[in-house]
Structure formats: C-alpha cells, structure tokens
C-alpha cells in the first residue's frame, strides 16, 4: 500500500513537465480543431480518447475531408504503429504477475513522452507509477485542448499564427536529436522531407489527401530503410 502511494507520487512528480508541454501543444490542437470546423466538445473528446499528437493532427484533415472511415483507421494505424513497439517494450518491463486490468489501463496512456519516462525508470515498472504520470499528462492534454478550443477564438490572429507552429516545433525536437547521433536516421529524415515536398510540388500528386500521403510515404520510406539498414538486434529500439 505504501509502495503504491510512493509510486503514484513519484509518477505525479515526473508528470509535471509532461503536463506543461502537453498543455501548450494541445492548446494549438484545440485551436486547429475549431478552425477545421469541429465543436469544442468534439475536440476535447478526441484528446481524451486518443491522447496522441501526430494521430489527432492528421485525423483533423481526414475528418474534414469526409474521407472513408477505412482511411482514418489505416492512417491512425500507420501513424501510431510506433506505440505497439513501445507497448512491446513496456510489456518486458512489467512484472510477469501484473494483472490483466493493469495492462488494459496502462495501454491507454502509452505516448512518446510517457513511454520515454516509464521505460527509463530503473527496475520493474509499477503500474501505479504510470497512473501518476497519467494523472498529470491526461488533464494537461485534455484541458489544453479545451482552453485552445474555447479561448483560441479570443486570441488575436497574430497569436494564432504563432501558435500554429507549436506542434511542428515539438516534432522537430523529437526527430532531430536522434538524427544528430545517427547518420541513417538523418538520411531518413531528409529523404522523408524531400519526398513530402515533392508530393506538394508535383501537380499530379498534390491532390492526394494528407492522410493517404502520410501512409504512402511512411510505408515506402520506413520499409525501404528497414530493408537497406536493418536495426541491429542489440540496438535499443525506443523513442523519446
């Protein structure tokens, strides 16, 4: 009981920076969701149920395009596939006797940041530590979305324009540090951006929806990289 409480407290403490970061980024998501024509309730529902940055962001474009549900499912599958790898990794870190319901609950909150913090914590992972992280991260993400959705309209256009780059800044902060240490990752990043630009510039490809473009490029480039540069068995397959 005491351990449980300590783990929860420790998780809450480590969750503070995640909470702050999430609030700023999801504020932008709330604004964008409203700009895409969603209601505040809908944007909050997305953040509470999906709890993911890239997937939600791509999801907005798919919703407003009125794309088939299958396109949404495939886009989310491809964009969020990395979570399954993190989930595999966390399953190794949990004690074998961890009950099923704990696994069902922990699964909800696997994000890049929560995974990064959980997997770096020494020793076996206590579910209550994860719940401590969730207790700050989930409200940070959801309330940030609510604030963006409700107060975003009150902000001047200049501020909206500025907040529009928050997510991209976060994405760059995720991809650049590992790319700096690994030339293959640097190459993958550059090739991805070049092809993304080509899709934008070539008229025949310009009409492809953003969700489909993401799926095509991810499968092709990550697939090619996996064939050309297989990750060594010993390498730690984890993302920040």
């Amino acid at each position: 009981m005491n351990t449980r409480r300590e783990q929860l407290k420790s998780g809450i403490k480590d969750g503070i920076p995640i909470c702050l970061g999430y609030f700023a980024v999801s504020f932008t998501f709330g604004i964008m969701a409203i700009n895409y024509g969603l209601s505040p309730l809908q944007s909050i529902a997305i953040s509470l149920t999906s709890l993911t940055s890239a997937g939600q962001f791509a999801g907005l474009g798919i919703i407003t395009a009125g794309a088939p549900f299958a396109e949404m499912a495939i886009a989310q599958l491809v964009i969020n596939l990395r979570y399954s790898l993190m989930s595999c990794s966390l399953s190794q870190k949990l004690d074998e006797t961890t009950p099923f319901y704990h696994r069902l609950l922990i699964g909800y909150g696997i994000t890049d940041e929560i995974f990064g913090v959980s997997v770096c914590k020494p020793g076996p992972l206590n579910p209550w530590y994860c719940y401590g992280l969730f207790l700050l991260a989930v409200p940070g993400w959801t309330l940030g979305t609510a604030a963006g959705a409700f107060l975003g309209q009150l902000l001047p256009e200049r501020a909206l324009s500025a907040l529009g780059v928050a997510l991209y800044g976060m994405f760059l902060a995720i991809i650049i540090p590992p790319a700096k240490k690994d030339r293959i990752l640097a190459g993958v990043t550059v090739v991805s951006m070049v092809f993304s630009l080509l899709f934008f510039l070539i008229p025949a490809l310009n009409g492809v929806s953003s969700g489909l473009r993401l799926i095509i490029l991810t499968v092709l480039i990550a697939g090619a990289a996996a064939v050309l540069f297989p990750v060594p068995d010993t390498m730690e397959v984890s993302h920040e």
Binding site: R158, S192, M193
Partner: protein, 101 residues
C-alpha cells in the same frame, strides 16, 4: 455530419487504443523479426518529418515567418532543448517576425 464526426472519433480512439494495448496484453516476448523491428523503428521519424515539412511553411500568415520558425526550432532541437522550449521558441519567432512582415 455531427454523428459522422463522432464516428470518426470512435474509429480514431479504437484503433489507437488497440495498437497500444494489444502488444502489452498479448505479446510477452521480444519482437525478433528484424524487418518488423526495423520498420517500426523508422516509422516515427518518417511520419514526423513528412508532417513537418513543408507544412510548417504554410502554417503561419507568411511563408517567411514559417521558415524562420523552422530554422530556429531546428537549431534548438539540435542543441537538444526540451520539446516545450523548442515549441515555444518557434511560436515566439513567428509572433515577433510578423510585427515586421
């Protein structure tokens, strides 16, 4: 349309949840297939790169403020600043630059 939006939200949530929870509950052993391991390893880098560029250039009122945000964010990210710091710095660059554009 409203109901359709909630259906989209349901699809998003369900797919995302199953991706996260299935390995945690079903697969107890480490993934050994080199191709799948490698593919999953590269996925986030490709996805985030494709989503960031060139989209960041059209995210703001002017392509120049977007480009400045890209440069500043890239430099700070290279210096391994936190997600929060990089994100806020990019926003501030756009905010300040658009006073002059």
């Amino acid at each position: 349309m409203n109901n359709r939006i909630y259906l989209y939200i349901l699809v998003m949530a369900a797919v995302t949840y199953f991706i996260r929870v299935l390995p945690l509950t079903l697969i107890r052993q480490e993934i050994k297939t080199p191709f799948i391991r490698s593919f999953l390893y590269y996925v986030p880098y490709v996805t985030l790169s494709v989503m960031t560029f060139p989209a960041i250039l059209s995210a703001t009122k002017s392509i120049w403020s977007g480009a400045a945000a890209l440069m500043v964010a890239a430099i700070l990210a290279y210096k391994e600043k936190s997600l929060f710091q990089v994100s806020i710095a990019a926003c501030m660059v756009v905010f300040v630059m658009e006073f002059f554009l």
